[in-house]
């Protein structure tokens, strides 16, 4: 049985392949350097049945950085995010074309287990979704399904995760109360604590603050800054200010409308350092979006 202190990522079959030294297409302006890319996607297209939701996305996501996905509704940012931990496998008819590499290993190879992937790549959802269990059981859920049965170690993990999520002081006296009695902001921080409890390598966040007020949002943004030294974070957000506040790099997605077939497909327009993308975008669509003239 693994102690929580061990870096579970280190011994995984998924990570055995050497990190590929690879350049992403030059027009993205982002060049991967060895040893720090966590995800590399190369020309991926994502389909729901015959409908192509996202086309031709290539980007590199780096270790210990916060990467933000922004763009108008329906541009496929959430779809791309859910591709990174194979959550789209749960959607009937969803499929991915192109290469997604996670730390050098092909994420969609036949012998890759989505379960093993998701144990390393956690996810926080748009709406807080605590289990109808106690606060303690919510946080201990992940370690328990990973086989941790030792009560002392479980309690340590629960406390550490809740502290990391800046929730410990508020809930330490009611760990055995239902998680559903918490406020929305507390529930979302609990969901973050639950994700951190399995010590993932990457935390994917799908609009984690969209259901929260500005104060709770601030708490979660602070939390992201604190944990980024240990985790790689990818966040989808509708809020451009949030992207500028928290992220190191930003990917701007947009929608291509095909007039012939009347379908909408998401595309990656621009991916760059956040400051660059917001102050000096290369693409006119990005400029229109970040200055508020579109979307």
């Amino acid at each position: 049985m693994e102690t929580p202190e061990q870096n579970i990522v280190a011994n995984l079959p998924l990570t055995e392949t050497a990190v590929q030294q690879q350049e992403v297409s030059p027009e993205s302006g982002v060049y991967a350097t060895p040893g720090e890319s966590v995800f590399e996607t190369k020309n991926i297209s994502i389909y729901y049945g015959s409908f192509r939701a996202v086309t031709d996305v290539s980007l590199t996501i780096r270790e210990n950085e916060i990467t933000a996905f922004i763009g108008p509704s329906g541009c496929g940012k959430t779809t791309v995010l859910r591709t990174l931990n194979r959550m789209n496998d749960l959607v009937i008819g969803a499929r991915v074309e192109g290469d997604v590499h996670y730390r050098g290993a092909p994420l969609y190879a036949k012998d890759v287990s989505p379960i093993a992937v998701r144990r390393r790549i956690g996810m926080v959802f748009q709406k807080p979704n605590p289990f109808p269990k106690s606060i303690y059981d919510n946080v201990a859920y992940g370690p328990r399904i990973n086989g941790e049965r030792n009560k002392g170690r479980l309690s340590e993990i629960v406390e550490r995760s809740l502290r990391q999520a800046a929730l410990w002081d508020e809930v330490k006296d009611r760990l055995n109360k239902s998680a559903l009695g918490l406020s929305g902001g507390q529930q979302q921080r609990l969901c973050i604590a639950r994700t951190l409890a399995v010590e993932p390598d990457v935390v994917l966040m799908d609009e984690p603050c969209s259901a929260l007020d500005p104060i709770a949002t601030g708490a979660i943004e602070d939390l992201m800054q604190e944990i980024k030294s240990k985790y790689t974070i990818v966040i989808v957000t509708h809020n451009m200010q949030q992207a500028t506040r928290v992220s190191d790099r930003t990917a701007f997605f947009s929608v291509l409308i095909n007039e012939h077939s009347d379908t909408r497909t998401g595309v990656l327009v621009e991916y760059d350092r956040t400051a660059k993308l917001f102050q000096d975008p290369r693409d006119s669509r990005t400029r229109a979006y970040v200055t508020g003239r579109m979307g």
């Binding site: 959550m87 009937i92 998701r118 996810m123 605590p130 289990f131 109808p132 992940g142 559903l180």
Partner: protein
């Protein structure tokens, strides 16, 4: 704004039929409710009036005497024991099978042909008359192995199965998908998601649905007519030998010309109603308790 013009604002409803229609509809609803209650009231009144005088500990435990004997002698012990035995055995047979069937339909079946066929057959099974279930078990079981409580339990189980499948399926459908996703995102397998999140969340509804099916089966006469016969002494072995039950006994005693037998029949009817009533109350308590957990 017209706030300073000095005119008072007219907040009265413009003259219309709305209030009268509202009153008529309310009265109609109350009348239909009373109409629905009347038969129930009469049934309860009749059964209690005719049955209460005979109920005693002796009545609930003593052997069934010959029909000619007066009401003061003997009781319905074998029928009480038989109903409890046979219903319990039917529950043990039908509930796990039904719950597993519903789990397959909702969690694993998806759009598979097998799932569609099972769902359809289960709905068809709901419509099979209970006496046909009795005949079915008579032909495939009783003809080979003889009358027994087990044969009765098989017939009742066949009757309960589609009810349990349908009610459990509806409960599983109510479990929000975000809860499943949260569990998947922590690296849980489908089986774990089902066992640790879906079933506990739906447990209250599953239990109350099962108890309603049990209450329904406990009152069935027709499936037992050709499967257990009737006996006058307690048969503790539910797996072999003829048995009896409260509904069978009510049927037998009601067709008897003797006053004493008829009085014992009324007593059996009251006992049966009381049993069903207790089950309903337990179902309500269980549902309420788990509903609180879900909020």
């Amino acid at each position: 704004m017209a706030a300073t013009t000095g005119q008072t604002v007219d907040l009265q409803e413009p003259p219309s039929w709305r209030r009268s229609k509202n009153r008529i509809a309310t009265v109609l609803m109350v009348i239909s409710f009373v109409l629905v209650i009347i038969p129930l009231g009469f049934v309860l009144y009749t059964v209690i009036a005719k049955g209460i005088s005979i109920i005693s500990w002796q009545f609930l435990t003593a052997d069934i005497p010959p029909n000619v004997l007066p009401a003061s002698i003997g009781g319905m012990g074998p029928a009480v024991v038989g109903t409890l035995e046979i219903t319990a055995l039917a529950t043990v047979l039908a509930v796990p099978l039904g719950v597993l069937g519903a789990v397959y339909l909702n969690e694993y079946g998806g759009n598979k042909l097998l799932a569609k066929v099972i769902g359809f057959m289960s709905d068809v099974m709901t419509g099979v008359p209970s006496i046909v279930m009795g005949l079915f078990i008579f032909s495939i079981w009783v003809l080979h192995f003889g009358y027994s409580g087990l044969a009765g339990a098989l017939a009742l189980g066949c009757l309960m199965l589609p009810i349990v499948i349908r009610s459990t399926y509806e409960m599983l459908r109510l479990v929000p998908d975000p809860l499943r996703e949260a569990s998947y995102a922590l690296g849980a397998s489908k089986a774990r998601v089902t066992v640790t999140v879906v079933l506990p969340t739906a447990l209250g509804g599953i239990v109350s649905g099962a108890l309603l099916a049990v209450a329904r089966a406990a009152g069935e006469t027709a499936p037992l007519l050709f499967t257990i016969l009737t006996v006058t002494t307690v048969n503790k072995n539910v797996f072999s030998g003829a048995n009896t039950s409260l509904p069978s006994q009510i049927f037998a005693n009601a067709s008897s010309p003797y006053v004493g037998a008829q009085a014992r029949g009324w007593g059996a009817a009251l006992t049966l109603i009381a049993l069903a009533f207790i089950l309903m109350i337990v179902a309500r308590l269980v549902t309420a308790r788990f509903a609180r957990n879900l909020q």
